[in-house]
Subunit: 251 residues, 8 copies
């Protein structure tokens, strides 16, 4: 593309001023492809972090994205805000457990693929974070198998789902308290595991620190960790891997 | 006993001075029974914490105990010191892995009992601490089953020993890194589990903090925790429970 | 049992399909005995962690357990929720200090035994956690002696109860602030002590960290520790030990 | 396979005893495939964590693995130990920067694949950890592009390699101090990034805590984190992803 | 000045009492110039830290300052308090984003100077702290260029403003989460950078600790750090530097 | 006293039962003198920690103390509770800044003494803690000089009170933020300094940790530290020292 | 004194230059009395912190002090350095346990007084710190009673010394591990207690943090705390109090 | 410059290939000016961080820099390495206290300027860090006034240098332990203060954390902080400010 611009200048088809503008935009696009272009090409929706934004702010961002014919996903949207938003933006869907609000193009073939992500969680109190991961992955076009309430205190519950877990392309493991589920799943599968510590617990849990340290120090290889309660981040990673594994043929 | 003294005073069998001495000694014994008397009655050996003591200091304490015809166990004795001690005290036995040095009366029937303590450890690097626990328990007269190198990264290794673990009176679980083994064992047995976090690991392990927090936050009930690397303390607790369970008939 | 199934197959008494189902269930039971079977055999009630569950969720779990003719104990149930639950489930009892709600079969002989657990607490502010421990232990069938407000700042109050404490099978020591009571009791008794740090205090207490570290570093042997404010967990451990010590004859 | 065993019992081809043995081994294999079988099938070498093992222990493990005709990789092997090992095991190769010692079958076609992993590091002091990642990935059969000394203090050095980084299947980013490189790379690529905080730095670095927290809190999506200095773990994750992306056709 | 007083005593122009008073005041002024005198000479307004003060307290302090014909700036004033204050002190201006309330003399030539401070922030959630810095600097008489929402996840947004940032006399960089923006800006400019970590984030952010450690450990030279969320402090430093650079001719 | 009891038994003046009761009470008194007896002898009031107690509980404790003709001081009593208490106990006095509620016998000569305690605080936000110290000391009978708002940012304010501070028997220094005032005062006086870190501040203050560590690490000798915000504890220490220094003649 | 100088100037007895010098020295002395003058008047020796100083540096400081006819005390002097120093300064005395080196004028009547300081320590490993406190206090002229090895694990040992402890003017309590001894002593005496946490312990002791937090959070009033292992600082405080209590008549 | 290149292409003076090369180099220079160009223009020496580099590595970097006719400064060079380097590079100068090794062009007029930086330190143990700051600043061409051993425990020592400190353009304050010196100096001057916490201290100092937190929480405005022991970083900041203030006329 640079060749092209320079040749056009050489041939007098572009003035110096025009060339400068184009070069500037080229430079910007060089970086911008990680933003706007990637979204277009991959079908990833734009993401809004809802915490600390007003309902009005979220609505205006969503409308801008919609005009680009792009999917949109907003995380950490409280029920109060969601009500206001959905009223003005009725095609959006809201899930109160994951606090995710999204709008998705129908029949977006670009998003469909084989294989599935296993979203596994330890206890019922980890459900919100697990759902943030699961719904994020689904809106991003991955298939999700939910395997919930399989904490290591009752190992047989986990082992009952062993085959289903081992069949996934990538697992997202969500656990609070001592976070042992990450290591146990990591030892049972041969695919990448994204571990999400949650702030569930009390006392020496220190708002998720115990699960976080536990997962970082896992004796199982093949585990990597995202921030406490960051279901979205885990799903984002998992979807990236899922696409690399299951979508190559389409590109 | 107080009645007795007072009655003897009443009956003129004791002078006031004699009574005072006896009452004083009674008072002291009231507290002292936790030291000297308990040792006598229960057959528990005296314990010496070897760290920061010289070989000479350890020898003189051991000799004093031996004169009371009591067993003795010294923890955290380095190999250097042990050599010096064993030279002067050849009936003592030293175990270099656990760094325990002990002297035990032959045929001490008072120490024998049924049932066993399971000492379980996650990896080979936790062996030293596990052996500190195992040998302590044995010197204190408990039977010990060692189940080593059964970390959760290879869950089948643990499950292969399930029956043996479930058959114990009490388990001591020794694990570093993320310490998940504590929770997993806790979920598989119906007896008390004493968890020992070890300082094994690196980075965000923070000298055992990760395993410690993990074990304190266990989602399994029936787990209690001792200090990092405190194999002796775990064994001491386990032996107490073992005696309550398996030695009642003899008392 | 495995022999049995295989023999029945050999003898044509079981089809391959039937054998598979049985083996599967055997396998599940292998792990499940830690859940359902243990409850049945031991008379332990099912336990519900009330925090983060709605009144409706708790009611439906309780009803399911009741149908199995099992006792049930729910911890950390706020007064608001308890009111709603008791209205629909009038045979349940609620204790507002410990925030425990439970339903217990009458005359459950399986739960009765000799000996007692001493539940000891330092100050009036530790009462809630101490009561969580005491009531849990009682619902689980242990006898409990409450020895409250005996913090080390007034040592004579503790020593006045020395005999009662020393007579217990196991002690649960509940203390906040500097948690010194754990070490002091540990030095006075020859039975296991389960220490519960509480989050009572301010400033450099750091939500219970001071008491937690204090108890983990106790100079007294025979102390093990559970999570901050975890009265339930301490009682669960204590009851396990109490059963081992006092209930053997009945099994 | 279960069907098969049961049918053989039914048909008298297996005695009950023989069936029991087979069922046991089946059960073990069920879990063991994550160990031994996975290694076989995938061509992953066996891994030995060298820290805390003697040269002799490492040699005997390596010989056992070699007899299984398997590759082997040992991490954290000091130069002292390596010298001893290589003397007795001359076909092994040692890399002193990464402290990795490995033995690899020639022409192991199973390990070859397309695409590459970018191993990126911030400063020369992060080299050891970066090399642990790079060599691990190579021994595991991935192609590696090393992009070193591109810390954010001189952003142009990083941007000079932008195309090469963006062309990778997955990136491993190794950085100490403030660990900002993770976020910056994460914002520039559309593939998964595995971030490795290192303990490089001083003062408020607190042995890698600053880089660790920085990476966990990255404002860039698509980043997941492994333990401080855990180059091996990062490579292990990256190789798993690389295989999913680039090796499907061969399976 | 000391000479002067003593000479006047010598010459009988001052009594001993008068000299004592003068010496005392001299001494006090020696220190007091850092308070009152500095304010006068430099045109710096008096500053009130509003947190923990009532509206009434703030009003009475403001009135006292106004009588000295001095500018005044109050930070961390909540909207509630501001309403009350502005009602009684209508010439004051309130900015709700930065929570700053100030009163500024018109045409205060003493405050005007060349050059500008770049106030740069990473995300929209850092805006409040950035505005506290920006408005503080403006009230103190500096020119401010606001460069907002240029976090490193989208590096091109930052690079688009490169020239403007490089042209500043001093930069204030406001960032939460991983705080990488500090290092990146530090590497791109050759003037001093004051970094302000913010408490924006969640989980392992630990109320701003991650950004704080990140900035303290920056691999870029030329960065110094103020307390978490301390936009005012950063601006105060930046203004001092701005004056040294741009106002010398006037003194 | 023990002699006495035993002699009375010897002489038949006491039965064994009566002697036992007396000995028991003697024993209790032996420890109780630290509680009840000390209060009597020294004129120290009884102290109630109000946090976590209901108004009713406080009232009933106060009434019990009043019947013993003893002074009483309750700390951390919220304004709500205080209103209820004062209504029923109108002779009590409440100070809303220090949150102290107390009742003091008139003309309690036992409490008066020479000398004074300097209570020094850094900023207006430390006032509540400083007043808790000052009023505690006054109710305990010490004279108090309040030297407030003399933080080290304006050193001359502190130096203006140098003589008054140096004239005290003991100083209580109350400071939040960086707590430097403790070291500075410690370097200026030759009497004991009790330092009280406060939780005043934000960001890297971590609820008083910065001031606490600062005071513990003081380069000035003669400083000792109490818990964060513990104005009462500091005053209690100061009063003990004040009595030792100024009240000996009266005993 | 200021009057005096000014009057002399007025009367021509001092030139302006002479007055300036005197005023300067007055000013300096105003602060210096905390240094040099206090030492003279009170008989306190000069103190040298030996850590990080060479033997030569210590010798030259000691000689300077000796020329002022003043006592000197150097803390944290290693045995190596002490040997070198004592060779050149043979009148100095060295104590290897406390690592204190000192030189004391004979028959320094100014230092003698009534009453005593109780230096109490928990275990033999706390001895070094306890001796640093005890010897410091003795060199500063206080009488010291050593009550060692009375940790709370054997409460009767402490209670055996109750009367001796209660008879002291002030206590210094030295304890590592959980530091409970501070609270227990604090509850048994009615005089000030200076608590010294030591770094003795392992695991979750975190280099003395557990004892430090424990002592700061003591439930006993009348306790104040110095830095970890700071025996000198505790003694310094105790001596100050001892002087206030026992030396008034002489001043 | 961009204009220029494009015009040359337009005029046929540059081929497309040549233009591409130039544009690339322009782009690189765009960022590189922060590296190489800044050094040239400003006379700043190149800086080498010596820790973790071998003597040979340092020599070869120094030679490369020397060929560019540039000054060079290497920090954290141990005495061992320095000896080797100076032997091969005899024109280099080494300062063992600051561990700085540098080579400076004679008569480098570009580096000279008016005004001075005050480098202030609390105690003799902070000297190494203070010298790292002082020598760095001098090699970078600033004038430095050293004001050492003026810790707040003896405030008069600091106040004796008040005028000298207040006369500086910028101060670097180096202090360990409680770091109070930062706040005290900050309150006494009206120029920017760069505070350097040092790791000097013990116990609750936690390797410099106490001084770091103290300085970040300073109650004095105008203070900013660099990493623990980072004398170089503080000097780098101070020199930047010094140049802005004192060198403008020359540019």
């Amino acid at each position: 593309m640079l060749d092209n611009i320079l040749e056009q200048v050489q041939q007098g088809k572009l003035t110096v001023e025009e060339a400068k503008t184009k070069l500037a935009s080229y430079e910007n696009l060089g970086f911008a492809k990680i933003d706007y272009h990637r979204t277009k090409r991959t079908g990833f929706p734009e993401v809004i972090y809802g915490e600390g934004k007003t309902a009005d702010q979220i609505i205006s961002i969503m409308k801008a994205i919609q005009q680009n014919n792009n999917n949109v996903l907003a995380t950490r949207v409280s029920e109060d805000k969601a009500e206001v938003i959905v009223e003005q933006f009725p095609e959006a869907q809201y899930d109160s457990r994951s606090r995710i609000l999204y709008w998705k193009l129908q029949n977006d073939a670009a998003l469909q693929r084989e294989g599935y992500i296993a979203v596994i969680c330890a206890g019922t109190s980890d459900l919100n974070v697990a759902e943030e991961a699961a719904i994020t992955a689904e809106v991003f076009g991955s298939n999700v198998h939910r395997i919930y309430d399989v904490g290591v205190a009752g190992l047989h519950r986990l082992l009952d789902h062993l085959e289903e877990i081992q069949g996934a392309t990538v697992s997202v493991v969500v656990a609070g308290m001592e976070g042992a589920l990450g290591s146990v799943v990591g030892g049972l599968v041969s695919h990448p595991v994204i571990a999400v510590p949650t702030s569930v617990g009390y006392g020496a849990n220190f708002q998720g620190l115990s699960a976080l340290l536990s997962m970082l120090n896992s004796c199982s290889s093949g585990l990597s960790v995202v921030n406490i309660d960051n279901g979205f981040g885990a799903a984002y990673n998992a979807v990236m891997i899922d696409r690399l594994a299951n979508q190559k043929s389409r590109e």
